[in-house]
């Protein structure tokens, strides 16, 4: 007797069907589907670039990220959720941008006193500081580690690889960033 097992292929999609449609269509060159993907994900991508870089650079880099996404969509295999794939691509573009302009140079240091030299104005009790404004006041090296670890959820070992620094440096910078955020937010 032959055993026939039926595989319901439609049950394999890990992300909402409508979004998956757009990913498949965009991968085939459908710019309308790609625009829908843009509108779904732009807030998260723009927030990442704004927090990692600056308000001034965020718009341009966000555009770069989506153009790069369009170019690389053919390589998306669906092994992870599209949002995860896009997010990692976005982080890579942001880090490339930092390397290109050499803004990272000198900021990633093992010198434990480096951040102590940063002057932080004392918090004013009458002004409620927005979380994003407080982020902007962090020195860049500590800021990107804080964003990657506490906002985006990367582990120290992943950050160390991405930024080509020691894990211990990542931990020290994160702690100092948290202490500065505590002061900025007037905790």
């Amino acid at each position: 007797m032959t055993t026939t097992a039926v595989i319901a292929l439609s049950g394999e999609t890990p992300i909402p069907c409508g979004l998956d449609d757009d990913v498949a269509l965009a991968a085939q060159g459908d710019s309308s589907a790609f625009e829908r993907l843009y509108r779904t994900h732009v807030a998260k991508v723009h927030s990442l670039t704004r927090r990692m870089l600056s308000n001034q650079e965020a718009d341009e880099v966000t555009q770069d990220i989506f153009v790069r996404t369009w170019q690389k969509l053919g390589q998306f295999r669906g092994e992870s959720a599209f949002s995860t794939w896009l997010h990692r691509l976005a982080v890579n573009v942001v880090l490339e941008r930092r390397r290109t302009f050499a803004v990272q140079r000198g900021r990633m240091t093992d010198d434990p006193t480096a951040l102590d030299q940063v002057t932080v104005p004392p918090p004013r009790a009458d002004v409620k500081v927005d979380y994003e404004q407080a982020l902007e006041q962090l020195p860049p090296g500590a800021r990107e580690i804080f964003v990657l670890h506490d906002v985006e959820g990367y582990k120290h070992r992943e950050i160390a690889v991405m930024l080509e620094i020691a894990t211990g440096t990542s931990k020290r910078q994160l702690h100092r960033a948290r202490m500065l955020m505590r002061r900025h937010l007037g905790e």
Partner: protein
């Protein structure tokens, strides 16, 4: 005075403090209201970071992005949309069907590759004293082994009749680019088929028909279930195999020129 303890608070929060240091810190925290307050502040900072909401840009960036997509090949919306049904249907294969399809595709590609390899060996012995230019061409033909998964290397369109045949370009599997590459290779194969053994041509053409059939069936299945990642992967793989077979066949005609 408290710094030696507060410096450990982030590692403690993240669960990355070694056991003995954690014990010592917890003992200190039990007796130090100041350090405990700092710890609670840091917990709030982390909690806020984890809950901070994403905000869109103040201006719509799509126009600028769309303008930059113009130079990249893409397919017309209508051409794709016709494959999307109004009412998505459940699409199912039996295991034997899947196994047969996979086995067929593997057999087709393997058979064609064997035939082409055999033909190439014959050519290689015929041109045993080929010069360095010929050797370069042969390496270019084998370049597919190091090709990234989503791209394949094909001889450039104008290299079909060139003796070196060595210039290769990366081709993605997006439709317009893929179709152009397939058209170029089919033309190269058509132009050069006179240089190939008749049985080789027959095997290549027969296998191309089978792969085309697999591509058509995958497209039809995707029409019923466009979100299916397995079918998408199957289609990409079938298209890659077609391009690879064409590339090898076209390169063989170049070698024999």
């Amino acid at each position: 005075m408290h710094e030696q303890w507060t410096d450990q608070l982030s590692d403690y929060l993240d669960g990355e403090l070694p056991g003995d240091e954690q014990d010592a810190l917890e003992t200190h925290l039990g007796n130090c209201a100041e350090c405990t307050a700092v710890l609670n502040d840091l917990k709030r900072v982390v909690r806020q970071a984890q809950s901070v909401e994403a905000r869109p840009p103040h201006t719509d960036l799509w126009t600028g992005i769309a303008a930059r997509l113009d130079g990249t090949p893409r397919r017309a919306v209508s051409a794709v949309a016709q494959f999307i049904p109004r009412q998505p249907r459940r699409f199912a294969f039996t295991l034997p069907q899947l196994a047969a399809a996979a086995a067929l595709l593997i057999a087709v590609s393997g058979g064609a590759a064997w035939k082409l390899a055999q033909a190439r060996m014959t050519q290689a012995s015929r041109y045993a004293n080929a010069d360095a230019t010929g050797a370069t061409a042969a390496r270019a033909v084998d370049g597919g082994k190091t090709t990234p998964p989503a791209a394949v290397m094909v001889p450039a369109a104008d290299s079909a009749g060139a003796p070196d045949g060595g210039r290769v370009v990366a081709v993605g599997l997006a439709d317009a680019q893929y179709d152009a590459a397939v058209a170029d290779l089919e033309k190269a194969l058509k132009d050069g088929r006179g240089h190939l053994d008749a049985s080789t041509v027959s095997v290549v053409e027969h296998n191309l028909q089978i792969i085309d059939l697999a591509i058509d069936q995958a497209r039809q299945a995707l029409g019923a279930d466009p979100a299916n990642s397995y079918l998408n992967g199957y289609l990409v793989e079938a298209r890659r195999r077609k391009l690879d077979l064409l590339r090898r066949a076209a390169a063989l005609t170049t070698e024999t020129n």
